[in-house]
Symmetry: D2
Subunit: 136 residues, 4 copies
């Protein structure tokens, strides 16, 4: 199972070459993670940040085709690995079926002191559900 | 040989957790690439974009420690691989010797139609010089 | 008549004080202008930029109360003045009825050479309609 | 007396029209305020934010000419009005003597609870010095 988020390529995203400035893609990925917590896990992202956060520990992205102002992207996020306090995800963007980028990243749940902390049980259960459905 | 750029962590870079919002690191990396063309290769980045560009084809980053408002980072860029129209680079940020992130990425020289195009000889020679000195 | 756009305050919008970093508000305003062209005027913003644009010539904003991560803003845009090639607009953001900012700005239609150019008749008619309904 | 900060227009600042995307100007203005605290007032901006901040209460900007990738801007900041807890400033950007924008804004010093708080004496004295020299 994957979580999806529509994203129009807006004027603000584009560079002088008329294509998405790639750091903007990371904002889109971050927005998709936020929407996944809000809607996919039903834990508002702002609550996750009340006493901690989920910083990105590593990310690898391949930009396979440029995106232009007005393109209607679909971002899809798939949780892939669940650790004690980490989560592996795969985020892909497509436009009319053409892949624009694919990213794999690792998030880590931290507490208010910045230390990694285990996923609470209710989140762990939900994340496991997403991963099992993705693998099915 | 590596090219270095100082970068204070500014207010604009930081998120509610008080640390750098990671998409901002990609802007820093892009600024470092721009400075490398401007000063390291002596080809103003704006000229490179007159009829083409150097989009990033892929990038992998490990964020090894958080950076806070006021931290004085040093970004260092090392060209590592020279292809027909591609360039592999490694970008690292440190603060007082502590590594904050390390990125490996591939840039591709494109023409005004968005097609990959060979590095012109004068750039190829300069890039080869940087790579040889880095390996020495 | 006013055009409205919902906007959740996301993690990316917020600064170390936990409130919206004000330059991000200008991105929201720009997104709202883009949505107004797309949906309110039914002229995709990317088409407006095919051979020209609508740069902002001036803008004044009062930030009346801070916004926090998770706040559900409503941006409303009201066209107020129609010139030969200019458009005055007022953009306001509220959250549960509390005003967060109010902005007045002037956009100018320009051609591909960057010169101001008169609104084409079909856009002029639509803009006039919005202004008359706003005044009604 | 005015405080100045050089700013190259970088690739990241520019939009598909090849000119600075105006929300980026507000980041430049914010950077200039940060540099003014760091260097002009000798109070690191990160210290100001340890238990409070200096949010912008209002800002008005006129964009008088477009800026392009590679332009070497000079931003100059002039403190103009000192209130109990507010500061009026004027920020102007020029390129080779041509004005690109002029902004007037009001900052407010707030404490850790977000309430306006009087300028401490040492800052008040320094700010008064800047204002008197600007008027001289």
């Amino acid at each position: 199972m994957r979580f999806t988020m529509p994203q129009k390529v807006k004027f603000k995203h584009c560079d002088p070459a008329g294509i998405v400035f790639y750091p903007r893609y990371f904002e889109m990925i971050n927005d998709c993670v936020e929407a996944f917590f809000d809607e996919g896990l039903e834990v508002p992202f702002e609550e996750v940040h009340r006493n901690g956060g989920v910083p990105t520990a590593e990310i690898s992205v391949q930009f396979t085709a440029p995106s232009r102002h007005g393109d209607r992207l679909e971002l899809s996020l798939t949780p892939t690995r669940l650790g004690r306090s980490s989560l592996g995800i795969r985020t892909e963007a497509t436009c009319d079926g053409e892949r624009r980028f694919v990213a794999t990243s690792t998030l880590v749940l931290i507490d208010g002191q910045g230390k990694s902390t285990p996923w609470p049980d209710h989140l762990r259960a939900k994340l496991r559900g997403w991963i099992q459905q993705a693998a099915a």
